[in-house]
């Protein structure tokens, strides 16, 4: 039994990701982006104690630094010169721009680590089969073949090594050639086998009628509640974006980074939107501690 954020209907979860990614791209303001990144990191921590994020952290840090360093180098729009290096001016505006892009990028990447935790491949295939039923069937078959072929490849490699064909030593050219030979063997081997699978599918009546589907995910009343809530928050997000309260104006004149008036309200609803997993999961944590 799934609990917490994971137990919502896949459509609701997909909508959450679409809205948050769109929001990350629209809200180009350091305060909003920093708040978003911190919330997403917190979501990661509450979902799996940051295990998945840990795997990606070097890539995220590298890309963020890369963007942060190189944007001011190429972006030559601005009024306030910070310093000059190799007869190239570095503008404060460009540095802020670089920081915002780096924040957006790391926010999106960190969000995708939660995507990989929440939208497991069965949910992904469920969503896919709603839009492209036939393609989803091919994907399901292929996904099952992956571990099978991996095993077969290991077998093929063992057998060929006995004959002296291996990828362990020799020149790069020979290694690559031998590796491709294994794939070649795997192809003929698996295609012959696949015909059997296909014939067994036909024997069970594949293609005679319209394919029926097993509904693994039921739409519950809490999904309605979540959907309404998501739509409301995304409407607020959109209004905030339209009113320009959530975007930092860089040109022609740099705006103050401090939030004023309505901006605080939009910040609150933005954090509320991103942290939906936190308080659905947090409820479970509190319940667990209470009953214990």
């Amino acid at each position: 039994m799934l609990r917490g954020f994971r137990s919502f209907h896949p459509f609701v979860l997909l909508l959450y990701y679409i809205i948050v990614i769109a929001g990350l791209m629209m809200y180009q303001h350091p305060v909003f982006l920093t708040a978003a990144l911190l919330s997403i990191i917190f979501v990661n921590l509450i979902l799996d104690k940051g295990v998945e994020l840990n795997k990606w952290k070097y890539m995220i840090i590298f890309l963020a630094l890369f963007v942060f360093v190189f944007t001011p180098l190429f972006n030559q729009q601005g009024n306030i010169v910070l310093f000059e290096l190799f007869s190239r001016a570095f503008y404060l505006e460009a540095v802020i721009q670089g920081a915002m892009i780096a924040l957006t990028l790391s926010g999106i990447l960190a969000l995708f680590t939660t995507f990989n935790i929440i939208i497991t491949s069965d949910k992904f295939l469920y969503l896919f089969s709603k839009f492209f039923p036939k393609w989803a069937l091919i994907l399901m078959l292929a996904l099952r073949f992956m571990p099978l072929f991996r095993k077969r490849l290991a077998d093929i490699q063992d057998v060929q090594e006995m004959k002296g064909v291996s990828m362990k030593d020799g020149k790069l050219r020979e290694k690559a050639q031998n590796g491709m030979l294994f794939i070649q063997i795997l192809l003929t081997y698996s295609l012959e086998e696949a015909v059997q699978t296909a014939d067994s599918m036909s024997a069970r009546g594949y293609g005679l009628q319209k394919r029926s589907q097993y509904e693994a995910y039921l739409w519950k009343s809490r999904d309605w509640a979540m959907l309404v809530f998501l739509l409301l928050l995304s409407l607020l997000t959109l209004i905030g974006w339209k009113s320009n309260k959530t975007i930092l104006t860089l040109t022609p004149e740099l705006e103050s980074m401090m939030l004023q008036g309505h901006s605080w309200f939009y910040l609150l609803s933005w954090i509320l939107l991103i942290s939906l997993p936190i308080w659905t999961e947090g409820k479970e944590v509190i319940k667990w501690n209470f009953y214990k």
């Binding site: 190429f74 999106i108 073949f145 015909v195």
Partner: protein, 230 residues
């Protein structure tokens, strides 16, 4: 068939015209444009694909090829950036036609990312590999794919374009203005990887494309599958 081909070609043409004349618009509306781009390229073929009645043998063969394309990275994990996935897609597309090439390419990207983890690059990978297969399939019966030299050139170009488009997702997340300077900078970072990818495509196509296509054609004849796409 001609209809869907036409729609796809027009979609690609519009996208590249936009890219050339309104780079600013594209950068500012990353999400909208990339979604439109993917729809313009993939949707006509996917619609045709889901309408077409396929035998179970054809379906399973496509699944096998997609899985092989995905799994073929495994024995090459020790050799950096040498992976025959692109070769598998191109060679299969030449034998089985554009439709199958597209499905094999896009599926291979999807399932290998399901194992390795999805990211903002997934749709780009699907489009890249899908298009590599689709175009190879389109040109299968022309002199382009019949002559080994042109086939090798195609593999080489695909290797580089794949790398460039894969670098684009960083761009479209808002990396400054899309100028030639930033484009070059981003791609010099990955030049060696792209070169290795292009050269390994050439290497595999040169040594194995003949036998691979022959094997698949033999299967087509033996089991009577994929007869109409040629």
């Amino acid at each position: 068939m001609a209809n869907e081909k036409g729609i796809t070609i027009i979609g690609v043409a519009i996208f590249f015209l936009l890219l050339v004349f309104f780079p600013k618009f594209i950068v500012q509306h990353y999400l909208l444009i990339s979604i439109l781009f993917i729809i313009a390229i993939l949707l006509p073929s996917i619609i045709r694909f889901s309408r077409k009645s396929m035998t179970s043998r054809e379906m399973v063969m496509l699944a096998v090829l997609a899985a092989i394309a995905g799994v073929s990275r495994v024995p090459f994990a020790a050799l950096p950036s040498v992976q025959p996935t692109t070769f598998v897609i191109i060679a299969s597309a030449i034998a089985l036609g554009p439709q199958s090439g597209l499905v094999i390419g896009a599926s291979a990207a999807l399932i290998s990312n399901m194992v390795l983890g999805q990211g903002p690059w997934t749709p780009w990978q699907m489009v890249c590999w899908g298009m590599a297969g689709f175009i190879a399939g389109l040109l299968a019966n022309t002199f382009f794919m019949k002559h080994m030299a042109w086939r090798l050139i195609y593999g080489f170009i695909v290797g580089f374009i794949f790398g460039w488009v894969m670098n684009m997702w960083i761009f479209f997340s808002g990396f400054g203005d899309l100028t030639l300077e930033t484009f070059v900078l981003l791609n010099t970072q990955s030049f060696l990887f792209d070169l290795a990818h292009a050269l390994s495509n050439v290497f595999f196509l040169f040594l194995f494309s003949m036998i691979w296509i022959k094997t698949l054609n033999r299967f087509k004849e033996k089991y009577g599958v994929f007869q109409e796409d040629g």
